[in-house]
Symmetry: C2
Subunit: 351 residues, 2 copies
């Protein structure tokens, strides 16, 4: 499957031609802005028409509620802190009884995660709803069980009322409806930025340096993996050129074979430390490391006797210090406006 | 000193006479509403005129910022959760590396803490500002040091800017100014309730049962310790009549001698579990236990040959089930309106 992915990306990438405006070039390279119109955005984040204000509000409450964890101390927000770019800012996530992720994996941001095609570093969940069950139940994260979750929520009369109001009287409070509700709140965690303004046609939305950075980002092939609305969020092979320098720490790696979820670059300036095991603290160093570890591709089409031939050329990325500077400048244009969130008042247990 | 306290309370208590309106009786018993007027309120919470919008906003950011802890995972809000009545809802507070409070002490609420005369269960801090240094530095709570705190904040350019804007260019970022700023935010965490409306003269603000509860609360002597604006917050001796039933668990106790801070009763329905070691989960049970553990006093003045004599009569509290019911009903009238808090966006470390 990943070969197909790469081929599609080749094609997109190879369509980039010089002489284009940078906006056109970016779009032809697979970069997609967050839609300007609410209708278009809703088509993207709510294809199943599940969003309602009641569900979003209830989802927000659950997101911030530490009582969803076995200890009653750990909310979703503890590792995906909406005040800190949707992450916890430490290298590996820490959960129940201070246990760390056994694979030393870093908490990815929840902002714009609705645009990801896959969730988790290994991409094992196809939706936010599916992803949420992971940390709720993992013994080293929130350490709940379905029974515990349902018991807790059913012991809080106001929650029961809000679930019924959100879905109707016959609804069942279970792991599925709890995860769904949290995911509906998460769908709204979208952060439009100056970069989106630019892609929508405002040429002054980016500085000259940021434009050079974007151009370099495309030309050097970063865009082969970091594309779509999220500039990431799909699966790609890792360590195509050489081994990641912190592979001794834990986390799973790639060897050019194993697929890893490409992290979003939106708000990347907020979400240090970097990489799947959170071992690189500087964004400049992270960009350099990607330039060492990965390669870009270029596709050539040649018409020969037997028909059209496709030739894949592997190109080292080789970023200069100036390239890195410019790319990091571009990343600043991806800093988005976070939705305003009123900190909830959570309902209490039955008296 | 505590003898003096008790005497003062005797006097207040003994002034309660029958025939009064319940509002007058409550006020004469030492119960004070949250002022209606902003001026009066400010006199109470800001006698030193330190509050400004900039400082409150910065204080809010620091309150929610887990980077003030050694691990970068624990904010003030982790144990004093503004979504959960200003507490964490577990019996003993949990901090750095999941270490618990060595005395098995329960996190008290931060709401209305500005009205407390003393902070901490043992009353060792006289102000919020002084209290805040405790959890910031305690190895089993946030585990910071002054150097760590200052280094962290000075690595976040936006914080440095906000501190300068709040206090002037010459100000020093140190433990004192950090704690002060958080305390200024905490001064605003005030929750007026139906009970306040009642004390301000709205006789319909309480139900009949709640009024009976308030009357019982006064007559049985609960008000001897639970008085003032916070219905608590000053020091009083504990275990005056018999031993607390969960004294085996940890926490320090009283034996009728040691002073303990009287917890506020505002929002008490939100802040289970109860008692200093958080061992009682039901509010009814907590009220019953207080009725077993403590005593009330009644003072008699007799004019005898040698002059006026004061006689202190110790009275068992002895609450019936109906009394407990009524008192708990009254406690519901103390559920306050929490201030609306926009969840902050925290600034990032230097690039």
């Amino acid at each position: 499957m990943h070969i197909l992915n790469i081929i599609v990306l080749f094609l997109v990438y190879s369509l980039t031609v010089s002489g284009d405006s940078l906006i056109d070039k970016a779009k032809r390279s697979g970069l997609i802005p967050i839609p300007n119109s609410a209708d278009e955005l809703l088509k993207m984040i709510d294809p199943d028409k599940m969003l309602t204000p009641e569900r979003i509000e209830l989802g927000k409450m659950l997101y911030f509620d530490p009582r969803l964890s076995k200890s009653s101390k750990i909310s979703c927000n503890w590792c995906h802190n909406l005040a800190l770019g949707g992450v916890d800012g430490v290298s590996k996530s820490i959960g129940d009884h201070w246990n760390g992720n056994p694979n030393h994996l870093n908490s990815p941001t929840v902002y714009n995660a609705v645009f990801f095609k896959r969730q988790f570093w290994d991409g094992r969940a196809k939706s936010l709803e599916e992803q949420i069950k992971g940390p709720l139940l993992a013994p080293f994260e929130m350490a709940s069980t379905e029974k515990l979750l349902v018991d807790r929520i059913e012991s809080i009369p106001e929650y029961v009322k809000l679930f019924r109001e959100a879905y109707g009287d016959g609804m069942k409070i279970d792991l599925k409806s709890i995860a769904l509700t949290i995911s509906l709140f998460e769908r709204t965690l979208i952060t439009p930025s100056r970069y989106d303004k630019f892609l929508h046609g405002d040429e002054n939305a980016l500085s000259e340096k940021e434009k050079i950075g974007l151009d370099t980002f495309i030309d050097k092939g970063c865009v082969i993996c970091h594309n779509g609305v999220a500039l990431g969020g799909d699966m790609q092979p890792f360590e195509l050129r050489s081994k990641y320098k912190h592979r001794d720490v834990g986390g799973f790696h790639g060897n050019g074979k194993r697929l890893m979820k490409v992290p979003t670059l939106r708000n990347i300036t907020d979400t240090a430390p970097y990489f799947h095991n959170g071992m690189i603290w500087s964004l400049r160093d992270a960009v350099k490391e990607m330039s060492n570890v990965q390669v870009a591709y270029k596709v050539e089409f040649t018409d020969e006797k037997g028909g059209r031939q496709i030739k894949v050329n592997i190109i080292p990325i080789n970023l200069t210090d100036e390239d890195v500077d410019n790319i990091v400048a571009f990343f600043h244009s991806l800093e988005g406006v976070k939705p305003t969130i009123e900190y909830p008042q959570l309902p209490k247990y039955r008296d």
